[in-house]
Symmetry: C2
Subunit: 295 residues, 2 copies
Amino acid sequence: MPIALIVHGGAGAIAPQRQAAARQGCAAAARIGWEVLRQGHSAMEAVMAAVVALEDDPTFNAGTGAVLTAAGHAELDAGIMDGATLGVGAVAGVRRIQNPILLAQAVLASPQVLLLGEGAEALAATQGIPFIDPMHFVQSYQRMPSQPLPADASGLDHEGKHGTVGAVALDAAGHIVAAASTGGYLGKPEGRVGDTPIAGAGFYAEDGVGGIACTGDGEAFIRMQVARRVAEALGRGMDAQAAASQVINVVQTRIGGTGGLIVIDATGRVGFARSTVNMSYAYFTEGLSAPVVGI
Amino acid sequence: MPIALIVHGGAGAIAPQRQAAARQGCAAAARIGWEVLRQGHSAMEAVMAAVVALEDDPTFNAGTGAVLTAAGHAELDAGIMDGATLGVGAVAGVRRIQNPILLAQAVLASPQVLLLGEGAEALAATQGIPFIDPMHFVQSYQRMPSQPLPADASGLDHEGKHGTVGAVALDAAGHIVAAASTGGYLGKPEGRVGDTPIAGAGFYAEDGVGGIACTGDGEAFIRMQVARRVAEALGRGMDAQAAASQVINVVQTRIGGTGGLIVIDATGRVGFARSTVNMSYAYFTEGLSAPVVGI
């Protein structure tokens, strides 16, 4: 079976001075995930390694680089789906977790599917998931060059609204895993959740069909169940790239939602599409010795 | 255009001594919603009236009758979708709201789609949505006859795990609205969220396609995006009843998830299915002077 891996670092209008870092961060995460896959490990291990790398890179709006809410703190969301079992784990509104995708994976292993805020953090405490001082997110945000303040956030196409990260992998056993992680959008109200922790909206994986991870206008992506729509298109026999383009187009024409997504189908074909100015991405497929990188 | 309205009061193994109250509560809510529709008002108004009635009836595990978490308090979830606009409003983990469906409707009217806990309650304060002392839920729960304590909850088919309420209506303008509200399951861990506030999982509405509201094993219903799957089946031309039965069967055979759902298609045909012992429901279609009621 062919293997494949794709990551993205968010869609939006990415400032020119930040594009090189976004490309490099995606390439680095793709290399990390690809090396895991190439050594014969699972899609689950590859996706986790790639998303942790993206969360740890302050370039991206997830984990360390999360943007701040209107109240000036970080609230993070993440989700992961195992295509072999249709298992899902997700967290929303966590404030003290260094790598929310690690906690989402712990939820996947629990009887629950989606845990919120302090309830999710209570699971983290029992599972040895690393906590972090919430001020770390504020300080990390303030260190970034030319960051707008939350009060300046306006316009759906602003980069601060579109900085989710995601990864999808297909392993040699035919298993597909998809994951997403985000800080939400800059200046969001307390408690706001977008598509990132919602299976079928921000991410989806099903062996024999494909895997999808989304970024963009999270409200629109929930309303249209974007990841599930891509899976439906794949299920009807559509090509990965055609499915990605068609669904991104439908979300924009039908309800004006913008964003992007990445997809791998069950045969290892890669697709990606965006209705925003930019979306940083990197992928490996069989035979490539370096990632294909774009923005 | 034909009009139609259906409600449910939860799926599970409903104790014999509580079946009459569940049937009567569903019938009463259906009458309230049907009268709204019959007077020429919208599906939105009819669904809201029906769900508020179900939330106010202590028989059901939503609003006033919500079950308690492992920690002994109530955490409520609700969601609503407007098939005319594909607009969604939902809340998760609210503790002080008398009628969570009213707050979900306020979120529908806001720029957000899903708000959690205290963030959702902050919106309630600005919109005049009634608050309630959290102890009210504890006292209401304790007043119910032969209620198990949270520590006694076990087994997926236990009534305490399956008490969500929901409603779907089709109005004379062809607009479809679907909504759901729940206290979750008895003894759930803090922060746990099931399918009820997740568009495409616990509820879905799209004019020209249909409306769906679900109840049951919320984790399984998220993993399978149950409401969206029913809409897909309707979109392929399947009959409302066939779509309901097929999807409930798929959820059970594929991942062992049990529960039930109600559906109205774009032509006003009603469907419902369950894989549990019982699901209380009541519906009206054109020409009926009394609701069809069952359990």
